[in-house]
C-alpha cells in the first residue's frame, strides 16, 4: 500500500514497551485489562520524537480500526515524503484526535472505507519477481549494438 512516507509500526504487549512502540509512526501498547494506548508520530532515528497519545481503546479490533483510520488520514493529507513525526506536528495532535477518534468532521466512515478499498487492492509486489510488471524491470544494463559493426 502506498503512503506519502514510510510507516514504521510496533505493538507492545505490556507497558515495559520492549518493541519501543512509543517512538514509531504508529504504536500500540497494551496497558492491562484489555486496554491499548495508541501512539502516533514517533521517531527514533536521526530525528527523535516521542509519539503523541492518540487515544486509549478497549479491544484489539479497536486498535486496528483507529490506527487504520489515522493511517488513512495521513495518506490523504500528508505531503509527499512527510513522515508522521512532521505531519502530526504540522496538523496538531488535537485536531487529528478530533477527526479520527471523535469524528468531529464526519470523515471516519469515508476514511475506513477508503482504507478497506486500498487494502483490498494491495498486491504482493514480490510476485513481480516471477512476472515482471514492466519490461526489463530488474535489468541493470541493456546492451546496445554498434551500428558500424553491422
Amino acid at each position: 500500500m502506498d503512503s506519502p512516507g514510510k510507516l514504521k509500526l510496533a505493538t507492545a504487549g505490556c507497558p515495559r514497551n520492549c518493541s519501543e512502540a512509543l517512538v514509531k509512526d504508529v504504536g500500540a501498547v497494551a496497558v492491562g485489562e484489555g486496554k491499548w494506548e495508541i501512539y502516533v508520530g514517533g521517531a527514533a532515528g536521526s530525528h527523535i520524537r516521542k509519539g503523541d497519545l492518540l487515544t486509549v481503546v478497549d479491544s484489539h479490533d479497536e486498535v486496528l480500526k483507529v490506527s487504520g483510520r489515522f493511517i488513512q488520514y495521513y495518506r490523504e493529507n500528508a505531503k509527499y515524503k512527510e513522515r508522521t513525526y512532521t505531519f502530526v506536528e504540522r496538523v496538531g495532535i488535537a485536531k487529528i484526535k478530533a477527526i479520527v477518534v471523535d469524528d468531529s468532521e464526519g470523515l471516519c466512515a469515508a476514511l475506513d472505507k477508503a482504507l478497506d478499498e486500498s487494502a483490498a487492492a494491495t498486491r504482493d509486489v514480490w510476485l513481480e519477481r516471477d512476472t515482471p510488471k514492466t519490461e526489463n524491470q530488474f535489468r541493470t544494463e541493456i546492451f546496445a549494438t554498434d551500428e558500424a559493426a553491422q
Binding site: 526489463n136 541493456i142 554498434d146
Partner: protein, 105 residues
C-alpha cells in the same frame, strides 16, 4: 568522430521510466516520458553519483533518486543548481528502433 549505437525498441523502456544501456564502453541512461518522448543522458548524477536511470521522470524533468537534484532532460541543465549532465541525441525510427549518437571515443 561520433559513433552510433542501436538500442533496440523504445518499448523496452516503460513510459515514465529510464534504463541504463551499455554502448561500447560508454553507459547511457535512456528515458521514455509519459508523453512518449525519448531522452538520453549520462548515467551518474554529478552530485554524488546517483543512478539517474532510476530517477523519477515527469514532464521533461528528471529527479535524481539520491538527493533529488532536478535536471531538464532537453538541455541537461540542473534546476536550482549550477550542475549539468551530458545529454545525447537519440533518433527514433518509425519502427520504434532507437539509435543514440555518442561523441567520438
Amino acid at each position: 568522430m561520433s559513433r552510433k549505437y542501436k538500442l533496440g525498441l523504445a518499448s523496452q523502456i516503460p513510459a515514465g521510466e529510464g534504463r541504463t544501456f551499455k554502448a561500447g564502453e560508454t553507459e547511457v541512461a535512456v528515458f521514455r516520458t509519459r508523453n512518449d518522448e525519448i531522452f538520453a543522458t549520462q548515467t551518474k548524477c554529478p552530485h554524488k553519483g546517483g543512478p539517474l536511470a532510476d530517477g523519477l521522470v515527469g514532464n521533461k524533468h528528471l529527479i535524481c533518486p539520491l538527493h533529488e537534484l532536478r535536471f531538464d532532460l532537453t538541455t541537461g541543465q540542473a534546476i536550482g543548481s549550477d550542475a549539468c549532465i551530458t545529454v545525447y541525441s537519440v533518433v527514433r525510427e518509425a519502427t520504434g528502433e532507437l539509435t543514440v549518437e555518442l561523441p567520438g571515443d
